[in-house]
Symmetry: C2
Subunit: 254 residues, 2 copies
């Protein structure tokens, strides 16, 4: 079972868009896939067409009672794709978990109760707090979406420091499977500079597939669908198809 956290504390870099389209793409290739939404915004949940206000149970309940995970997972409109949903209740967990025993291992405990999933993808909030720590501790590898912009580049070194700390103290086997550039505008000089910078520092970690800015990707969530069923011939869909292929190839070695 592959467990991958999609994380970057910089906001708006395409974590949710990548988590939804990666998990859907893997499911559409016949692998049983679980998408875990551990962001109180609940964007991965609503982006797949589930009403976050009507949920009886969410990942919040699971963090407090890990053994309940199998009763909290929902189907989605995509074959082979399941979701552990989230909503605003999760904001309470950040405070409540501070005083709980082994608070960083709650999600990992919960995942141990799961059976026969091939891939688990975790969509993280834009922070390095207790929820993201739970995701990193529960994962075997990390996928880092990034925009080709100054603040994103700045945030990367901070993220790498945190990952080093987690690797030393909480999860020795964690590795970065790769960095994927999103919302890339090839006419933009800054984007090219940042791209060169990342290629120099992180070479083989950078995925070859680059996701361009494509309005269909920002329209798909309002229809509750991944890009592959919303607009299959768009540049967004084609680039995420290539990314899923490249990702699956690379994940064989993790």
């Amino acid at each position: 079972m592959h467990v991958i956290a999609v994380t970057n504390q910089k906001g708006g870099v395409g974590k949710t868009t990548t988590a939804i389209n990666l998990s859907s793409g893997i499911a559409l290739r016949g692998k049983k896939t679980l998408l875990i939404d551990i962001d109180p915004q609940g964007n991965a949940t609503s982006g797949l067409g589930i009403d976050t206000r009507k949920l009886e149970r969410t990942v919040y309940n699971v963090l407090l009672n890990p053994e309940q995970i199998n009763d909290t997972i929902l189907n989605t409109s995509i074959d082979n794709l399941y979701i552990l949903p989230s909503n605003a209740d999760l904001v309470g967990a950040e405070i409540e978990l501070v005083t709980v025993e082994k608070r960083e291992f709650r999600l990992k405990n919960a995942i141990n109760h799961l059976m026969n999933f091939d891939y688990i993808i975790i969509d993280c909030p834009p922070s390095l707090g207790i929820l993201t720590l739970n995701a990193i501790v529960a994962s075997k590898s990390l996928l880092v979406p990034m925009q080709s912009e100054y603040y994103s580049l700045e945030g990367l070194s901070r993220l790498l420091k945190t990952i080093k700390m987690v690797k030393k103290e909480l999860n020795p086997s964690i590795e970065i499977i790769g960095i994927v550039l999103t919302m890339y505008d090839s006419r933009n000089n800054l984007a090219k500079c940042v791209f060169e910078e990342i290629k120099n520092h992180f070479g083989e970690k950078l995925f070859n597939t680059i996701i361009p800015r494509n309005v269909k990707l920002s329209e798909a969530p309002s229809h509750g669908q991944p890009i592959f069923t919303f607009e299959p011939n768009s540049r967004g869909s084609i680039s995420y198809q290539l990314f899923v292929n490249e990702f699956l190839e690379r994940s064989k070695h993790y």
Copy 2:
């Protein structure tokens, strides 16, 4: 003294870009202005050319010892603009503040020690945790930058709920001064739909000035400057100049 928090828990909507350019624009009109960076990412700090790794003291120290605020404020390259800087140390505060007395009032206490600023602008992180709560409690009004996209619209109702709760329990005088649309692409149908939706629900709260997507705005922080000094004739600079005018006019009534 006007105290305004720039907040939206949705990531990447232009909070920092708006906080830097609003505070600079106000300072360039001759008003003594303080920009408070309460985001552990420290983007407002580095976006004004200050190295976040070389700071001896930050807003983190001030939250633990509010009376030290005057010794922690730095000059910037802009006349009349000062900054209370931030860096990654602030991540520790989220855990440490949980057990502290009146934890939501630390920043408000600190601001009470300040003298003769005309405007204080607070750049918030993309979350509704203890740091954003401190900013909302310390403020008289809230400025909400928003992208014209589905997830941003979804997040707005959540933000309004939180503000209602804070108004009832922690800061009865807080008001939303307005919502400003950022990175707006007028060729994009989704953007037009979201714009209409916000106009219908929030009418007079929506600022008339709309900030277009403009690459110069994303280049300016890598030069440590606000848009007005980096590229004064760009669409980004012109639209933020208009926004500062509209904002100052409106803030007279708060």
